[in-house]
Amino acid sequence: MRLFDTFTEADFEKATVEERASMTQKRAAVSYWKDAARRFKANHVSMVALFVVFLIIVFTFFGPLFIPYNYADQYRNSMKLAPMEYAENEQHIMKVLEEADAVYASSLQPGSMTSVKKGDYCFKVSGKWYGFTAPKRLRDAVLVFSKNNPGVLLALDEDDIEAHGLTKGTEIELQSLSGAAQGTRLNFITRLTPHYFGTDSSGRDLMARCMYGGRVSLIIGVTASLIVLVIGSVYGSISGLLGGRVDFIMMRIVDIIYSVPDVLIVLLLQVVLQTPLQNWFDTSKSAFVKALGSLGVGIVSIFITFALLYWVGMSRIIRGQVLQLKKQEYVTAAYALGVPTKRIIRRHLLPNCVGQLVVATCLQIPSAIFLESFLSFLGLGVSAPMASLGSLCSDALDTIRIYPYRLLFPAILLTILVLSLNLVGDGLRDALDPRLKK
């Protein structure tokens, strides 16, 4: 330690700007959300779950762009296929491709055989147009674009194949076309897609249906949760804010709805709402109602059920939070300073409730998906050709002993979806609750 007498004049000079800057430690202020995001990222399980949810969203929303099948179409040659199987005619085409040394062989569209009538046709291969004149009607033919003989298109009729194998069919002269195409246009499909998940008894592609069903389930889950969020938070915050007798009465109503066995009412509502909703959709002219109608009666009545019964849990959470916040010193201080109520709600109450709102809404999504699948399982909810994960499972049950995989795919998708949504919700709760901060 230096003694007083060893200090020199220089020791008492003012610090320069640089010196001062080097002394202060500056760290960017970490906001609530940044902090929460950091905590969420540190939680590996939730991050993986979030990634899985993201994958499922990509699969269900963008997947249909990559497969040539539609969820509602019934493909004639593809009934009751096992997973990874090709349609009958496509199995045929594959054989042709292997044995007849062909470059392209195709039917017109997936799942249907090419029926070529007499007349002019054109098609496009590798950016070039070709044309031909069919000499006769070719039923259920596979058109082969041969490598050895590029000027000739081989049309293999079913009779041809039976009689001569895969090499001898009706040979048709091909013409190179320049510019505009003439005659009926054929779409050559050069890449064959198997039915990855197989097909159902009416020839619908199960993968397309799972994608569509997953989308419907997700939409139902998110929309129902938003409905619950709006009603529950408004109701709960009014009750909590006003307090006193209003709060008492509003909470008794919640108690009563809470103790009602919801499923009994839900089942009844589903049946009751069918006809009136259908009438409403059919007669109304507004675009909004039309859009609702396109969702189908089953889904809309699920929304109504949520709006009527399921908001109570949310309203309790929000009321509790508001009650707790209202008693905080800083809120009292704000009141004492004469801050208007509106501003207190906006500045102090709302931001402090957002975390809880996000968590509760997030955890509501899987439970809504659960309820929908339960209803679909009992034969209510969505109906064919529409699909949800629940209805796909329930459809699969009729043939469960012969085609167990039909249940497997939607059930696995549903379980993974609900599981990862639950895990994401848990992670959010841990991240957003400051009390759990370490």
Binding site: S259, I265, V272, P276, I400, A411
Partner: protein
Amino acid sequence: MTYVLKRILSSVVSLFLVAAATFFLMNAIPGSPFMTEKSTPEQIARAEAKYGLDKPLPVQFKNYMVNLLKGDLGTSLKMQEGTEVSKIIFHQNKFNLSIKLGVRALIVAVLFGIPLGCLAAYNRGKWIDSILRVVTTLGVAIPGFVLATLLLIVFAVRLEWLPVISGSLAGWKDYVMPVIALSFYPGCYIAKLTRASMLDAINQDYIRTARAKGVKTPVILFKHALRVSLIPVITYLGPLTAGIITGGFVVETTFGVPGLGKYFISSIQNRDYPIIMGTTIVLAALVIVMNLVVDVAYKLVDPRISLTKGEA
């Protein structure tokens, strides 16, 4: 005691509301229950008059409620024409079957859920905790009907150990799958709940005191911590009853048990008003009474909550 009285009153109101909601919803289904392809308007009118369905709705409702207070649930319109609903529910084994299944599932869920939750909390962070966490997380994410069907395929169809149709639950073999399917979700939920509240309790001061005094770990866990941790489990018993009734619909349908749940669903499809009403009221009463008992028991068990104040 005022709290108990208040709770009973609000339960009665709940039950009344359920009855009213069911009654008016049911009657909002367009058309008459007697409408078939063959029936003429006169036949329908005659049938409706016979059962008092021609009177205005409020009058019908008043009549029904008066009869209900006398314990009369009315008679079936279609499914078992002329039979008293109370007989259908209670004397044809339907209620019995559902209760038998439900109670067993409830017991299994509690008997497995609580010890497993304790086990996980006791071994926190070890492999047994991890395994249990995976199982319970999966358990609350698998839809009941998927689990039920999987059990059915594996144990009944492939392995042929258990009967495909459980029917009227004659032997123990008939119970195995329905009870597992019904108790899996609540069991997992209870295990999660117990683990969380157990861990919560372990961090309390009085546990630290007990440790400092040299009390052995098992004694601390089962005597000091478990008591407090059971409170959330007790509050869950109300929703659990409702959940088991809901699950019962699925399980009874899957395993072919002719219980109340299955009958309820077909009664909605058949629009047999008195049966819908009767079943709803019986099931709702069950859930509401359970909620009531749980709420009161909860206040009695937990000395931290005083009964005299009422609102806690």
